[in-house]
């Protein structure tokens, strides 16, 4: 009887609780759907594209949307729809990879600085502050120019420029988590530092980091566009949404479709990632249900 009654109070076993919560969040679902949609477009671009994204047709320069060219053609007669698909690859990569870089560098540094404190923290923090004091776009421009113009380098530069925020955020979280009883409990059983960091600290600092990451994906996509504007982003003839917008701005009045579609795509993806980020925050937060 006693044991039987104990069964009652325990919530039914639920695997993937976070995912379920995510699935119940309409905003997150919508955001996820948008992101997924563009990911599919990017991955299957060669299959979906109606034209060769690089083939210019000298007779079809800056044609408005039509049955043949769904979203029109650009300034040297290439199909905008097909370029948009291929551009999704560059823009998503600029967003996702740069954030991945920022996470891979920033989170470990933040963990180490926050956990060990003292001299290590002082050193890392001073360095990060110095980087923070350089405006991030300037930093990205300088890095991208150093590495030479290419999408990968721009991505790397954006990632590095975004890193200090992640170090700060992670470090702040670690400082809060570090004093939790369960971390002390881990020390009390004699667990070495590495394992404490990996098993106790890391999983518990991740939730705000993930949210910040989705916002940063959005800013990174915009940053790629800015670098493209300065000639440091995706290299021609390969498209990115940013570089498409960049050329399109010269034709804003004569051929508005050149800017509307890549601009709209950026808006949708940014929206998608942010909604997803909001949803992830709710899903990762163990406090509410």
């Amino acid at each position: 009887m006693t044991l039987a009654s104990q069964t009652e109070i325990v919530a039914p076993r639920r695997r993937f609780r976070g995912l379920r919560k995510l699935a119940r969040n309409r905003g997150a679902l919508f955001g996820g759907a948008i992101v997924l949609f563009f990911v599919v477009l990017a991955v299957f671009a060669p299959l979906i594209a109606t034209h060769d994204p690089f083939a210019s047709s000298f007779t079809n320069v800056r044609k408005p949307p039509s049955a043949e060219f769904w979203l029109g053609t650009d300034e040297i007669g290439r199909d905008i729809f097909s370029r948009l698909l291929y551009g999704a690859r560059a823009s998503l990569m600029a967003g996702v990879v740069s954030v991945a870089i920022a996470l891979l560098i920033g989170v470990p540094l933040g963990l180490v600085a926050g956990y060990f404190g003292h001299l290590i923290d002082g050193t890392i923090s001073r360095f990060i502050e110095a980087l923070l004091a350089i405006p991030s776009l300037i930093l990205a421009i300088a890095l991208a120019a150093t590495l030479g113009p290419s999408l990968m380098n721009a991505t790397l530069a954006i990632g590095v420029a975004a890193t200090p925020i992640f170090v700060r955020l992670t470090r702040g979280q670690v400082l809060a988590i570090k004093t939790e009883d369960y971390v002390e409990g881990a020390r009390a059983i004699g667990l070495p530092h590495v394992l404490i960091i990996l098993r106790y600290i890391l999983p518990n600092v991740l939730s705000p980091v993930v949210v910040q990451a989705t916002i940063t994906i959005a800013t990174a996509i915009i940053a790629e566009a800015s670098l493209s504007f300065l000639g440091l982003g995706q290299q021609p003839p390969n498209p990115s949404w940013g570089s498409m917008l960049n050329t399109a701005k010269n034709f804003m009045t004569q051929a508005p479709w050149l800017s509307i579609f890549p601009g709209g795509a950026i808006f949708l993806v940014v929206m998608g990632f942010n909604l997803l980020g909001d949803g992830l925050r709710d899903a990762l937060d163990p406090r509410d249900n």
């Binding site: 690089f54 210019s56 040297i76 120019a145 113009p149 004569q254």
Partner: protein, 477 residues
């Protein structure tokens, strides 16, 4: 009244002996009178020099100065000042005019208004150089401060202030000898790099004149009754040059075999470039001399696009496909150009990789010979020598591809020391013949000198050198 003019870039240092940029020349125009000037047909005309004479053998130039020319600080532009300026241009360590004046042997002040220049050898381009920065006169009192914002010249306008990236303000110099011909009290040059923004400012009435509107905006400008579009063919050109002897990368097939270069040339349809990119403003170019120049020879033009022949030439050279890389400085005009070239050439089997590079790095790469094929452009000189010798003569400063044909160099050197136009033209024709054989460079189109300005202006004249001249320009009555 004020005149607001938009430039494409912010000029560099405001000292005619040290400046490097084209937009800098635009700004020097009204500020600093030169010894000579050109007319719309590129003839040399007097400016600070009232008249001049060459000695027998063309080695001594005697110039009579205008007696009424004053610097903005009130001092006269006299013989001593001319000598001091030329010597400064020759001797100042940072001077960029040395090459242009290199043929000077000595300068002699004969009187307040008379100066004689003795040359080491005849120099055909000498007078042309004196129409530009090398011939601009700076008040000797301001030699030290010129550049740091204290430029004192003898032009119809004097310098007031400069805010970097924002404006250069100049006001009318009332004591200028030709002051009556200048109708604006104040002239403001504003650097606006973005063509769309430049045009928008003109449309909104914030500007009166803009330089180099984008070709695709031509229709808009022409359709606007408040605006006027003007265009002349400039002296410069755009094309590509090949790395024929500068380091390892000169070893690639396209640089080793002129048949391949010929094939590439045959794939380029200049008319399409003109239509698609220039909206009709990019005059097709096949030679270094613009149609505005007397050295231009229509015989070297032509060569219709011919994919079949291109393929045949490639087959002859033993290639089905040829891959190479084009290096260029990244901006959207160059990007469209080379994307189009890439697309055109691919039809014959050329597999072109584009390497757009940030400008500073681009300059570096060219100097270092780290390219196979590179963007090739020149803003163009009044004298044909500046468009040819500098880029293709053996060992010349601008010859980054290290192309060297002794015969051609010989011809060009000869043309340098003859003042007779007919004789020189014959030499240039011969030189062109050789260049057309070797194909060290391809020319795509001549730089158009385009302008858009408010219909409220009267008396606007476009010059082939692209520099704005304010004489006679006035608001419509």
């Amino acid at each position: 009244a004020d005149l607001n003019v938009a430039l494409q870039d912010d000029p560099d240092i405001l000292d005619p002996h040290r400046g490097n940029t084209f937009v800098g020349r635009m700004v020097f125009g009204p500020l600093c009178d030169a010894l000579f000037d050109i007319d719309t047909s590129l003839n040399i005309v007097p400016r600070l020099v009232a008249d001049w004479a060459w000695s027998e053998g063309d080695t001594v130039l005697t110039m009579n100065l205008r007696p009424d020319a004053l610097f903005h600080d009130g001092t006269p532009v006299n013989g001593e000042a001319v000598k001091a300026n030329l010597e400064r241009a020759l001797n100042l360590p940072e001077s960029n005019r040395k090459a242009e004046l290199a043929s000077i042997e000595s300068i002699e002040v004969l009187s307040d208004t008379q100066v004689a220049i003795t040359l080491k050898a005849p120099d055909a381009a000498f007078l042309a150089n004196l129409t530009d920065r090398a011939g601009m006169m700076v008040s000797p009192a301001s030699f030290e401060t010129a550049g740091e914002g204290g430029l004192v010249c003898a032009g119809p306008y004097k310098f007031v202030e400069r805010i970097q990236n924002d404006r250069i303000v100049m006001e009318k110099f009332a004591d200028h000898w030709d002051a009556d011909n200048y109708h604006f009290d104040q002239v403001i040059y504003r650097p606006i790099p973005d063509t769309t923004v430049r045009l928008a400012n003109l449309q909104s009435g914030d500007l009166d004149i803009i330089e180099r509107p984008a070709p695709n905006d031509m229709a808009t400008i022409q359709g606007d009754s408040n605006l006027v579009f003007d265009i002349v063919t400039g002296l410069g050109f755009y094309g590509v040059n090949f790395n024929l002897g500068n380091g390892e990368r000169s070893q690639s097939p396209i640089n080793q075999d002129k048949r391949l270069r010929e094939a590439l040339n045959l794939t380029i349809d200049r008319d399409v470039l003109n239509d698609v990119l220039g909206m009709g403003t990019y005059p097709p170019a096949y030679q270094p001399f613009s149609t505005a120049s007397w050295a231009y020879n229509p015989e070297f033009d032509g060569g219709e696009r011919d994919i079949e022949r291109a393929k045949a030439l490639m087959a002859e050279a033993g290639h089905e496909t040829v891959s190479f890389e084009i290096l260029y400085a990244n901006n959207s005009a160059m990007q469209s150009l080379f994307e189009l070239v890439q697309a055109m050439a691919s039809e014959a089997g050329f597999n072109i990789t584009l390497r757009p590079t940030e400008f500073a790095a681009y300059v570096d790469e060219r100097e270092a010979g780290n390219f196979e094929v590179s963007q090739f452009g020149a803003s163009g000189r009044i004298d044909p020598d500046g468009n040819f010798h500098r880029y293709l003569a053996c060992g010349s400063a601008g010859n980054v591809g290290n192309y060297c044909n002794d015969e051609l160099t010989d011809l060009l050197n000869k043309a340098r020391v003859i003042n007779d136009v007919e004789e020189r033209k014959a030499l240039y024709d011969q030189a062109q013949q050789i260049a057309a054989e070797d194909l060290p460079a391809l020319y795509f189109y001549y730089t158009p000198r385009t302008w858009a300005y408010s219909a409220k202006l009267d008396g606007f004249v476009a010059y082939a050198d692209g520099v704005l001249r304010l004489a006679g320009l006035k608001p419509k009555q």
